[in-house]
Structure formats: structure tokens, C-alpha cells
């Protein structure tokens, strides 16, 4: 049975209470609870105090943005340090990251970019995925990012086929983000239904849904709007096909609590949760 989850990534108590009321699981992003140290980052003690009662009420799942799985040189040690801390204190059911990179030679890009779908990339990331799975001992899922560029002529594999190959080599799971897919439809003419046809949907353990915005002809994935009709419909299709999905997660940035309002986000959560009853 697919459960409903909401992102909690701020100290807004009112919002968190509302989220707990509607969510079966809570998803947190380790990077958002970090405080900087000279050598990297650590989980803020205040964050641990805030998350402890939350974890007592709802199981946590973790979704990172800072691992940089596909950096040519290395994954982020600082991010793994954050995960180590959180796993020690709050045993999440599973965790996930993006099939992408955000650091180059240790320097942040300031954004996240998709990887080439070829053998070189498979050989780079698959051992890293296996190492992470061994390290934490819970399922590790990989998410499709919203493409920044059109598909490359040099790509050996179609995007979904590439994900399937990572799954086959490593045994990891898939996090299907339907708004990212919706961005790819708008920005690059990707056929979302064909993508789902080609994807090994039996490996999809989690589905992300969120709201974005249209800007200068592009669809942007900003997690701070309500969910539009196309994304809602894609989620319905994804849920029908991904019968092993354990969670539908409404991703919403903490900053959106101010702009949208906690009540509007709560109402949206109720609407999205209705997808699970159909």
C-alpha cells in the first residue's frame, strides 16, 4: 500500500503539526538541517531536538541534494557525514538521491545537472551506489532530475534504460519524480508515458510530486507552487503503474510556507492524498 508523505525542512512548528496530521511518513533533506563547520558540515543540535519528536510520531525517509553521485572525481564526503549523523539518531526507512551531479572538483555548481547515459557513467556511479547501500543497510533510491539540456547525441542509452541498468547492476530502487518528468515534457518534448513504459516500474519505491513554474519558456522545478493539472495526471498514471511504490511524497520547500501559506499547502496535501484512494 502506498503511503503519503510530506517534506518537512523548516522549523515551522505550525506547518509541521499540519504535515504530521496528514502524512504517514515525513521526508527530510539532510542538507537543509546542516550547519557549516570549517571542515564541512554537521547536523545542527537544534535540528536534532526538532526532529526527535517528529520521528517519534512518523517514520522518517531521507532525500538528499548534496551527494553529487555523478561527479567525475568523488561523491561529497560532507553529505555522507550528515547521513551518518542522521542514521545514528533517526533510523530512516530508506533514503534517496538524484541521478545527477552538483559538485565539480569539490566546488558546488549551485545547481543540479543530469548525467550522460553511457557506459563511462555507469562504471563511475554503480560502485558508488553499492558502497552507499553497504554503508547504510537500508534501500537507496535514485531520482530522475529535470533535464537542464536536451538529450545528447552521444548518449548510448535512453534515459529510462539508463536508470534500469543502474538498478540491475546495483539493486537500488527508483524514485520517480513526476514533476521533473513534466518539466522534461515541456522543455524538451520528452514523452512521459513512453518514459514510464520503458522504466522498470517494479523498482519504483517512491514517487515525488511538486509544483513548479513557467519562466521564459521553460518549466522550472522549484517546489514552491501548488501542483498543476498535468503533474497531477502524471502522478495518477505513475501510481497506477508503480504498484510497488511505498510512498507518494509531496515535496514543498520551507520557503513556500511563507508564500503559499500553511493552510494552502495543507489543502493541497489533502488533494494529493486523494490520489491514493483511486
Amino acid at each position: 500500500m502506498t503511503r503519503f508523505a510530506i517534506t518537512v525542512d523548516s522549523y515551522d512548528t505550525d506547518f509541521t503539526v499540519r504535515a504530521v496530521a496528514h502524512a504517514d511518513l515525513i521526508e527530510i533533506t539532510p542538507d537543509r538541517w546542516a550547519m557549516p563547520t570549517r571542515s564541512g558540515a554537521t547536523i545542527d543540535e537544534r535540528a536534532k531536538r526538532f526532529l526527535a519528536p517528529l520521528a517519534a510520531q512518523r517514520p522518517l525517509i531521507m532525500h538528499g541534494v548534496g551527494l553529487s553521485l555523478g561527479s567525475h572525481d568523488r561523491v561529497s564526503g560532507a553529505y555522507l557525514g550528515l547521513l551518518d549523523e542522521l542514521f545514528a539518531d533517526f533510523r530512516p526507512l530508506w533514503h534517496s538521491e538524484h541521478l545527477a551531479y552538483c559538485d565539480v572538483d569539490g566546488e558546488p555548481l549551485g545547481t543540479m545537472v543530469e548525467l550522460p547515459c553511457d557506459e563511462e557513467t555507469l562504471d563511475l556511479i554503480c560502485p558508488r551506489v553499492e558502497e552507499i547501500q553497504d554503508r547504510y543497510g537500508v534501500p537507496f533510491l535514485l531520482e530522475n532530475v529535470a533535464r537542464a539540456f536536451p538529450r545528447d547525441d552521444d548518449d548510448t542509452y535512453a534515459s529510462a534504460d539508463f536508470v534500469n541498468r543502474v538498478v540491475r547492476r546495483t539493486g537500488c530502487g527508483i524514485l520517480l519524480d513526476v514533476h521533473n518528468l513534466r518539466c522534461d515534457v515541456h522543455n524538451f518534448g520528452v514523452d512521459a508515458l513512453r518514459y514510464m513504459d520503458e522504466l522498470d516500474v517494479s523498482a519504483v519505491r517512491e514517487i515525488h510530486i511538486s509544483g513548479g513554474t513557467d519562466y521564459k519558456g521553460f518549466r522550472l522545478d522549484i517546489h514552491s507552487r501548488l501542483v498543476d493539472a498535468m503533474t497531477f495526471d502524471l502522478a495518477r498514471v505513475a501510481l497506477a503503474r508503480c504498484r510497488n511504490a511505498d510512498a507518494l511524497v509531496f515535496e514543498v520547500l520551507g520557503e513556500a510556507i511563507t508564500t503559499l501559506g500553511a493552510a494552502a499547502i495543507e489543502a493541497e496535501a489533502v488533494r494529493l492524498k486523494s490520489l491514493l484512494r483511486n
Binding site: 558540515a41 565539480v104 566546488e107 549551485g110 563511462e120 537542464a148 539540456f149 521564459k216
Partner: protein
């Protein structure tokens, strides 16, 4: 260098506005074929940076906006520094970047804001920052948007930052004969 390494390094340089090498020509051509996408990615990256820095460094950003320098400084900061995934570190990098700015007022505000961040993290921290003018109207402008005269006065001040019972700013006119002290 592997194809992936070159691709990632060239994208990093392009997004941050750094010069490319001759050896980067192939990847540069690839990015130019998708110029609109590259431009949008850079704009998105800059937007997230401006959001994070504006939230973390409101005083300094307010002074830069007043001077019409904020967009250009953001671009040069991104080009010249590695940045950080963590907004706290990024904010400190940004304030350090402006601590020796050619505009004495901007430098003073950046140093003051940097000292306030350090003070908030460490109750033993003490600092003194030289200002080229009375800090009160400038800080009032930064915090509350009150109008600021073009000439904020030429009298130099020193601002002391630290904790007593609470984190405080104390400013003293630099003329030792007239140590007028104000606390905020």
C-alpha cells in the same frame, strides 16, 4: 582527462562566468548549441544564490542594492569564489569577499554583518569595525528601508560588536575627544 571530467569542468566555468581554455572548445560548442538552456541554468543558479545570500546577509545586500551594485557583485562573487553548498559558509564567503571593497561604506557594512554572525555563534567573540560615517542611519536604512541621505556624514566611527547581556552594537565617534557612545 576523461570526457565526463572535461564536460563537468567546462560547465562549471561557463555557469560561473570564468574564461574557457582552448582545450575546452569542443564542450563549449556543445553548450553553445544549447545556449538557451545554458543561460537558463546559469540564471537559475544565480537566482538561488541571490535568494540565499539575501536572506543571510540582509544588511550588506541592502547597501549594495541602494548603490545599484547588487546584480554585478553577485555575478563577480560567483565567478571569483568557489561558493558552498551550505548557506552559512556561503554567507561568510560573501561578507569576506566584500570586507575590503573599494567602497568604504560597503566594506564597513560587510565587516559589521560578518562580525554579527560570528558574535551570534560565539558569545566570547568581540570585534571593532571602522565606519566612514555614522552607522545609525545606514543600519536603519538597511533594516527598515528608511531614506538615507547621499551624504551620511563624514565623521568616522568605530563600531564595537559583542555580547554583554545581549548581542549589541556600540558605536563611538572616532574622535577621542568626543567619544559619544550609542548602543543598539
Amino acid at each position: 582527462m576523461s570526457d565526463l571530467a572535461r564536460r563537468q569542468r567546462v560547465l562549471l566555468k561557463s555557469l560561473k562566468g570564468r574564461p574557457l581554455d582552448r582545450a575546452d572548445a569542443g564542450e563549449e560548442a556543445r553548450l553553445q548549441r544549447a545556449a538557451a538552456c545554458t543561460a537558463m541554468l546559469r540564471e537559475t543558479m544565480l537566482w538561488w544564490r541571490q535568494l540565499g545570500i539575501s536572506n543571510a546577509c540582509p544588511l550588506t545586500v541592502a547597501v549594495l542594492k541602494r548603490a545599484g551594485r547588487w546584480p554585478a557583485i553577485l555575478v563577480s562573487f560567483v565567478r571569483d569564489t568557489p561558493g558552498s553548498t551550505y548557506i552559512g559558509i556561503q554567507a561568510e564567503h560573501f561578507l569576506d569577499y566584500l570586507a575590503n571593497d573599494g567602497d568604504a561604506l560597503t566594506a564597513a557594512v560587510a565587516r559589521t554583518e560578518r562580525a554579527l554572525r560570528s558574535s551570534a555563534a560565539d558569545s566570547r567573540y568581540r570585534a571593532e569595525v571602522a565606519w566612514p560615517c555614522d552607522p545609525a542611519p545606514v543600519l536603519n536604512h538597511c533594516l527598515n528601508g528608511t531614506p538615507l541621505d547621499a551624504d551620511a556624514g563624514m565623521q568616522a566611527f568605530n563600531v564595537r560588536i559583542g555580547w554583554s547581556d545581549a548581542c549589541s552594537l556600540q558605536w563611538l565617534e572616532s574622535d577621542p575627544m568626543d567619544n559619544r557612545a550609542t548602543t543598539a
